[in-house]
Amino acid sequence: MDTVAHQPAYRWSPPEAPPQAAAVPVGAVAGRPVIPAESKKTWSRLRRVQRPRVVAGVAGMLADVFGVTATAVRIAFVVLGFAGGTGLAAYVLLWLFIPAEGEQGPIARRATSDRRTLPLVLAVASGIAAVMVAAGIAGVGAPLGMVAPGGVALAGLVAVWRHAGTGDREALQHLANQLSGANSSAVPTRRRLLIASCRLAVGVALVGAGSSAFLAPTHLSGTDLRLLLGALAVVGGFALVLAPWWLRLGRELAAERRQRARAEERAEVASHLHDSVLQTLALIQRNADDSQQVKRLARVQERQLRAWLFGGAPAGPLFAGAATTLAGAVASLQRDIEADHGARVEVVTVGDCPLDERLDALVAATREAAVNAAKWSGAEVISVFAEVEPLSISIFVRDRGRGFDPEAVPPDRKGISESIRARVERQGGKASVRSALGQGTEVAMQMPRGTVL
């Protein structure tokens, strides 16, 4: 690890004053030979490359520093990784202590300001130590020098995982997906990442144990058995001492996750209310003099909020999407008319069924009748009642507005009732309009159902 972390020093000038940045390599290189011809960049200005990158952008950064290709650096890391795991540990430490491009501080600084990360890192380290000691006693483990870098890398990864910025997080998840063979998945989750890392760890351990056993010169003897028991005792001891702490840590992390989920939910609600309710309230204040406009705004917002609260509808634009059932079509008609004409539309539906050609005509006629009532009747409320029965579907549109005398129908009204009737009758239905001066109007429509469902 030393080699990789410190080599760049002879090409990068150290800062005039000792850097106050927390990055460990900075302090380590201060006082090394200086090459003034280089740019004024210092260690503290070193940034992990964000694009192109494979994992954390460490190789890209070092490639810039050394003036070689990133691939060469990557190969070096892999080689060092096989040589006792030093490469892996170095990589993770660089990841931890050098900020990414566009980031303020390194991950390490964020990690130290969180009171849970240090215990978590220690927990991982102690777990690894337990396994290591036990393995050492059983004589199957790798030597200390090989396991320690791995432990450092793993513990460092924990800190990276908890405090990585969005770019690093994506890289981690991408990596986990690759490892778990689910790289095509649309939803890379934290859980999958966890499973992948566990799988990887167990796999590596099995391979290690298996190869040691294979390489062992003799078969199990009494001595081996005693060693195995000793190893188990050590693991048990560790577990006994540390288990409560591990458990508590686990519980705290779970609680933290729940809290975060709650916070996210809250944020979603807040953003919805901000986009809809607050906007409407602002509009209402600005239109306070125009009572029609205020009513209209309030009504549209009310519908939207109801749809969101009770209907489970997405919080997106209100009028998006075409309805596929009768009740849905009537509801969208209601929203449109309330938004366009300012009258309140009370809808009652009994039963529901999918739309077909006949029902499309029926809904169109209903819309025409309701728009007509909203425009001409002067009524505050328009009632729409739709009932789906086994053999037919009935819809009534009623207002308590000024109404008209059917004997002396003005030509425009006649045209409308004729057009409603024609629409419905073309599809085999019936429609009638009833009205009296001062008593409102009711349009009654009935459509036989094509197929008995």
């Binding site: 519908r303 109801r306 749809a307 609260l309 009770f310 209907g311 489970g312 309140r344 009370e346 009652v348 539906t349 009994v350 039963g351 505050e380 409320v381 009632s383 009642f385 009932e387 009534f396 009623r398 308590r400 009711e442």
Partner: protein, 216 residues
């Protein structure tokens, strides 16, 4: 004729004062008191014994149904009119089952609200169009012959169905009576009968329907 004494229960102060203002302005109604939570509502209602309690379905601590249940356990003659912003069947059903004599939505006009209060005070039931639709829907499906099917309780008569349809179409009782060539009293009798069925029927569909459909 003495004024109708009404008690208002709603956890929104703004709404309470609005309703109080409207009702007092209507002339024939006196607001005996108001409360914003279940405990104080129950206490005050028992103390003041109003003619009608106008109660919001949605409140913390069990809401309107809890108030209705607690008061009716000691004062069965106090009548309740439930009122809500949502027409969610589960809400409506729980208020009616707890013993409310009617259900109206908060968008109701003042005149209609006064009329509804007088109707329930006189022992009649008040259905909003939406509630009428709800009942039609819940009683419409052919029952999967429940174990204890009671034709008296678990079915609507043809006449009741007709009355409910008219209410769902936005007809007032008077208009429905004229439409069916019957007296207003008869319409009220039919609606009260439906209310009783709603309160007492064990119809499985009723609860399932209420749970499954969440009307906005």
């Amino acid at each position: 004729m003495s004024k109708l004494r009404v008690f208002v229960v709603d956890d929104h102060q703004l709404f309470r004062s609005g309703v109080r203002h409207e009702l007092v302005g209507a002339g024939s109604i006196e607001v005996a008191g108001e409360a914003g939570d279940v405990d104080s509502a129950v206490r005050e209602i028992r103390l003041l014994a109003p003619d009608v309690v106008l109660v919001d379905v949605h409140m913390p601590d069990g809401g309107g149904p809890e108030v209705i249940r607690q008061v009716r356990s000691t004062h069965p003659d106090i009548v309740f009119l439930a009122l809500s912003v949502s027409d969610a069947p589960a809400d409506v059903l729980s208020a009616i089952r707890a013993g409310a004599r009617g259900y109206v939505t908060k968008t109701i006009s003042t005149a209609e609200l006064v009329e509804a209060l007088q109707l329930v005070a006189g022992g009649d039931a008040v259905f909003s169009p939406r509630l009428a639709g709800f009942v039609l829907d819940a009683f419409a499906a052919t029952p999967e012959v429940p174990l204890h099917f009671d034709p008296e309780m678990d079915q609507l008569t043809a006449r009741e169905r007709e009355v409910l349809r008219l209410i769902a179409r936005g007809y007032a009782y008077k208009e429905a009576a004229r439409e069916l060539f019957i007296s207003v009293k008869t319409v009220e009798t039919h609606v009260s009968a439906v209310l009783r069925k709603l309160q007492l029927s064990n119809r499985y569909q009723l609860t399932r329907w209420a749970q499954e459909r969440r009307l906005a």
